[in-house]
Amino acid sequence: MKSRDHLLLYINGERVEVRGADAFLMLSDYLRYRRRLTGTKIVCAEGDCGACTVLRAFPQPGKNGFRFQSLNSCIMPLFLADGSHLITIEGLRENGRLNELQDKMCSFNGAQCGFCTPGIVMALTEMFENKKTVTEKTVKNYLTGNLCRCTGYTPIIEAACAVEPEKLKRVRERYGNKAIENELSKCFKVPVQIEHGKKIYFSPVTAVEAARFKSKNKSVKIFSAATDLGVQVNKGFISNEINLALHQIPELYTLKKTGSRIFVGAKVTLTELEKFVADLVPEFEKFLRIFASAQIKNVATLAGNVVNGSPIGDTLPFLQVAGAVVELRGSKGPRQVKFNKFYKGYRQADLKSDEIVTGIHFDIPAANETVRLFKVSQRKDLDISCVNAGFRMTIKDGKVAEARIAFGGVGPTILSLPKTEGFLKGRALDADTVQQSVALIAKEIYPRSDVRGQADYRVALSQNLFRKFVAELEPS
């Protein structure tokens, strides 16, 4: 198949082709220093502050129509924005005048120093793409990923709630354009290969091609959403010489329920997953709500969280107790690995040199099962956990029939607690059982001290999470 040797994108309605070195820049740098769109700010360069927020719509395989979603442009390599229509803060004025949202931000003093403001306005713009009306809660949820150090947020919340939605022309109405969408959809069907010096960017359209490319290039970095790799590039921890992207592979976008399992393709975003599990696994949905931010979840994937392999990955406790299975694709064929066998050690996954993760599937807990997920972090939202935990239990006649417990942040990998689980089986959750269980928990975990918490604190906290789980159980 013929491949494309450049990136094609639209920025605020303007067509742009990018060749050579620029393709490897971060999107925010490209906007600021190549296109003079300096409204997009760079603060943390790690996706934690939202000052770099822009909107993107792209031809997502299997989906009709373009939806504009927010993302952190400071951690997205430009090549991942290939095939996208990007809207920056400079694209919001209507006929030279402030739009309704911008105007309300002014009249409610939602901006003080102004440095976070473009990112805040873009995040709120996404909110109004998705919502007809908003409440204080909606506003907070869409602004979780935006830090402001001046206002205390109150004026921003008031401004957003004061927007009269019918006066605000949505981005999709202003920038939605069939011709552009068709052109981008068409270009998405062709693999892309760009080389510049030692740098290579390759974006195949099938998983097999991806696996083959990976097997041939040992030092390849797979940039799926880059919400973690982008940070590592910015901080100089890794160099991005050989880059493989997965976003043009249609088969990775599958999201479906099969019997009592849910299958999540490797390119399904956490935003989509959050919506999909709302009725099927409400506890997981609730947990995903405090996980990361809109900007991150709009691009980040469950597979990414799993492959990253951090022992404190927030989706891991759920996957561990939900009997997840990781689906892999190698150059010679597919393979399956049980999630609880997937990690061999600290950030070491059972992933062969020619394999990519294509998806993950897990149980939908039955009605008689209790599932509870916890994370404890310095700040409740958008913070890496100190300890996280998953509990899944079936209680019959006042006794534990089945128990699965997983803790993160207390060992080199996500941990199951087989001894505690075994002990609980057949027992009533009375004070004595709880006391003995927490003693067992302390023996089955082995945390270290770091910036997010001391080791002994993590042990005590893990024990307390179990106590909390029991205390909050519905009286049956």
Partner: protein, 774 residues
């Protein structure tokens, strides 16, 4: 009225320093800094780095003309010489044509150290007698005697950690080389004059060869009062050496590692009180961690000492303070300066007194509160005039339904197995003025143009707080014109010289008053002119006659004349005269009659003095006061904290711009909440490990009080300040102490009745957890 930058802020068009277009040949600049807290530099190797083609220059202290800087004491090198004293201390400067080359060169510079023993805590510094500045004391009455006979005594220590400013825009400067070796600096700085001085010293120039321009900052909070200057000097060094523009933009990580924080404090106290909870005497010794160099730490200590009394009258009191020299980054100004560290100390003591006596802390606060006519002299001798504190306490007590909520919390805490609740009301009495008298001065330049529009320049810098819009409003009101016709221009040392930092909450007070003084001078001339012009038929006005020379020029007496009424774009004749002239016609007449339409104004806070050696005087122009009540919910299992409700009640005099003032209240409070709860600075061997927002958690939108009410009382009594207003920048931050004392209150419910809660600050979930599971 909206913030004057709001339209460009919300459209991304506001220009910050790094948004300036790159000029031809402009260089990227960065520094290599110390990776160890204390060491002798054995060797610096950068030969390999220098070979990278795009690397244009590599510099060390040897390239500087003068290497020492410091706002109060000149003790800090711009670039380390033979010894490094903190992790993050700049050593080597690199200039390159591309960012990639810069990063590569940074990695290739090798520095060999011979490590020396660092001092990394206040305790260690005390043992080693490692101090900065002289010990200070404020003393009134007979402390020792009163303590010996007090019915109740408590002693203890309260510890407060630092706080990163987390301004969104990191330190940044661009230096442009100009003719004759002059340098023009664009910097994100609260103190352009200090930037000018530090750059001039470093480069061996006189001050008049350096211009510093500050258009706006992307947040500052005190972190850009002193600490922007050395980075400006570093950019200027490159500009001087290469004759090319040079830009330094710190990454957030480097900024947090290199720059100082709010000073950590460790305060020991002994307090004596009676059965009712009346504080009879207090003996307190404050120690702060100043870091490796003096920076502003001695002034911060001074303000901490001046705020130990806070809202409470303490007849016999001794306050001693000493800054410790450690091997941390040099700590610096942060919103509130020393104030919060004094206030936490006394509010903590009051909580403990209440607990000891089995009384509600609010009762103790009201009992000890400064009164209006009696018990209203501060420990250093200043009389607290126009005191609103008793009124504030009483009003908020009822507005926030304190006692009913207290009863409900008592009940909830006895029932809930999952949660624990706490409630507390604290106060602030913040002294307004720099405690160093000479800083309390400011100048302004007002230029009126012949179409009736006006440009104003002052020494104030805009960091989001809205000083510019307030100045514009004051000027517009003075001339009686539409505020849209007034533009406050970028702050520049060539417009207004010898300025003070925009700090101590005094930006509007000093600079708007200076602008007003300039307006008055112009208005004086315009008034005399108006009286004369009003008697001339319009067809003979100078606008028509001066170009052809057909009428005599109007001349002014130069004497003081009554200033006319300037309102709604019109100037009204004196007395019953119905004569008027429009402002725009009048200024044209002034121009054509050769009467200057431009003037400078000057302002200083009057009648203030403070003797630092005796700890006595009246250092403050007035006090900004307020009270705040916060209710918290704690998860008994995890120590996680939620602030359920906060009510603030402030006395801000007559606000010039209500929206800006309320914004300072909400913003300051939430920033203070961060300090007292989530913002943990985590160090290892003197290196800050929590140097990114992924590890250093400032409040985000979800972490704000669930219900948040801000109200102001009416107070027309602050007449000697501009427009009857009061400074607002810092005081609301101090009310966040109510969140911390509410946590203490909640934890008290888990203890035996008279057992005290020893809570560290910040009350992180780990700290709270450890207090629950003692």
């Amino acid at each position: 009225m909206r913030h004057d930058s709001s339209e460009t802020h919300v459209s991304g068009e506001s220009e910050f320093v790094d948004d300036r277009p790159f000029t031809a040949g402009e260089l990227h600049v960065d520094v290599v800094y110390s990776s160890v807290a204390h060491a002798r530099i054995k060797k610096i190797s950068f030969a390999t780095a220098a070979k990278i083609p795009a690397v244009v220059g590599i510099y060390t202290y040897k390239d500087l003309h003068h290497n020492k800087w410091g706002t109060i004491f000149q003790d800090q090198p711009v670039l380390a010489e033979d010894v490094v004293q903190f992790v993050g201390e700049p050593i080597v400067v690199i200039a390159a044509e591309t960012k990639e080359a810069l990063l590569e060169a940074k990695r290739l510079v090798k520095i060999d150290y011979e490590e020396l023993k660092p001092i990394l805590s206040i305790d260690e510094a005390k043992v080693q007698k490692s101090f900065l500045g002289f010990p200070r004391k404020i003393e009134r009455g007979q402390v020792a005697a009163e303590l010996s006979k007090a019915p109740h005594k408590l002693s203890g220590q309260v510890r407060m950690a630092g706080q990163d400013h987390f301004y969104l825009e990191s330190q940044v400067s661009i230096a442009y080389p100009r003719e004759n070796g002059q340098i023009e600096i664009h910097s994100s700085s609260q103190h352009p004059t200090e930037v000018q001085h530090v750059v001039a010293h470093a480069l061996g120039l006189n001050f008049h060869e350096v211009v510093c321009v500050v258009k706006r900052m992307g947040g500052a909070f005190g972190g850009k009062e002193s600490q922007g200057a050395p980075f400006a000097a570093i950019a200027a060094l490159v500009a001087q050496k290469t004759k090319r523009a040079a830009r330094i933009v710190l990454s957030k990580d480097d900024d947090m590692i290199m720059t100082g924080k709010r000073n950590p404090f460790q305060n020991d106290y002994e307090v004596g009180f009676d059965d009712d909870g009346r504080i009879l005497t207090l003996d307190v010794q404050l120690f702060s961690d100043g870091g490796a160099y003096a920076d502003l730490s001695t002034a911060i200590m001074e303000r901490a000492m001046l705020h130990v009394d806070n809202a409470y009258y303490i007849p016999h009191i001794r306050i001693q303070g000493q800054v410790c020299k450690t091997n941390h980054h040099p700590h610096t100004a942060f919103r509130g300066f020393g104030g919060p560290k004094g206030v936490v100390t006394i509010e903590n003591i009051i909580e403990d007194i209440a607990r000891t006596l089995g009384k509600d802390a609010l009762k103790i606060r009201k009992l000890n509160c400064y009164q209006v006519d009696t018990n209203n002299t501060a420990p250093y001798g200043q009389v607290i005039l126009n005191n609103q504190l008793p009124h504030l306490f009483k009003t908020l007590e009822s507005k926030c339904d304190y006692w009913n909520r207290r009863a409900r919390i008592d009940e909830l805490n006895s029932q809930s197995k999952i949660h624990l609740y706490g409630l507390s009301m604290t106060a602030v009495k913040f002294g307004i003025a720099f405690t160093t008298r000479f800083l309390n001065q400011g100048g302004a330049l007002v230029n009126v143009f012949t179409d009736g529009s006006v440009q104003v320049s002052t020494g104030a810098t805009e960091m989001g707080q809205g000083v510019n819009v307030r100045i514009a409003q004051v000027v517009a009101e003075s001339f009686g014109i539409d505020p849209k016709l007034v533009r406050v221009m970028p702050t520049s040392t060539e417009k207004i010289p010898n300025t003070s930092p925009t700090a101590a909450s005094s930006g509007t007070d000093i600079n708007a008053a200076a602008a007003l003084a300039a307006c008055e001078k112009i208005k004086m001339r315009l008034s005399e002119l108006a009286v004369k012009v009003m008697d001339i038929p319009p067809d003979q006005w100078a606008v028509k006659t001066a170009p052809v020379g057909t009428a005599p020029e109007v001349e002014l007496s130069g004497k003081h004349v009554p200033i006319l009424d300037f309102k709604n774009g019109v100037v009204y004749g004196a007395g019953s005269s119905a004569k008027t002239i429009s402002f725009s016609d009048l200024v044209k007449e002034a121009y054509f009659n050769r009467i200057p339409l431009s003037d400078v104004g000057y302002f200083k806070y009057s009648k203030i003095h403070y003797d630092k050696t005796t700890g006595t005087g009246s250092p403050f122009f007035y006090y900004t006061q307020g009270v705040g009540a916060s209710e918290v919910q704690i998860d008994r299992f995890t120590g996680e904290l939620k602030v359920l409700r906060t009510d603030l009640l402030m006395d801000l005099g007559r606000p010039i711009n209500l929206g800006m003032d309320v914004g300072q209240c909400t913003g300051g409070f939430v920033q203070g909440m961060g300090w007292v709860t989530t913002e943990a600075t985590y160090y290892e061997k003197g290196k800050l490990l929590s140097h990114t927002p992924s590890t250093y958690k400032i409040p985000n939108v979800q972490y704000t009080p669930r219900a948040f009410n801000v109200e102001l009382i009416e107070n027309d009594g602050n007449k000697h300040n501009v427009g009857g207003s009061k400074a607002v920048g810092e005081p609301p931050l101090l009310l966040a102490v109510s969140v911390w004392t509410a946590v203490k209150d909640a934890l008290g419910y888990l203890r035996p009745k008279d057992e005290l809660v020893k809570l560290k600050l910040p009350a992180t979930h780990e700290e709270i957890f450890s207090q629950i599971n003692l």
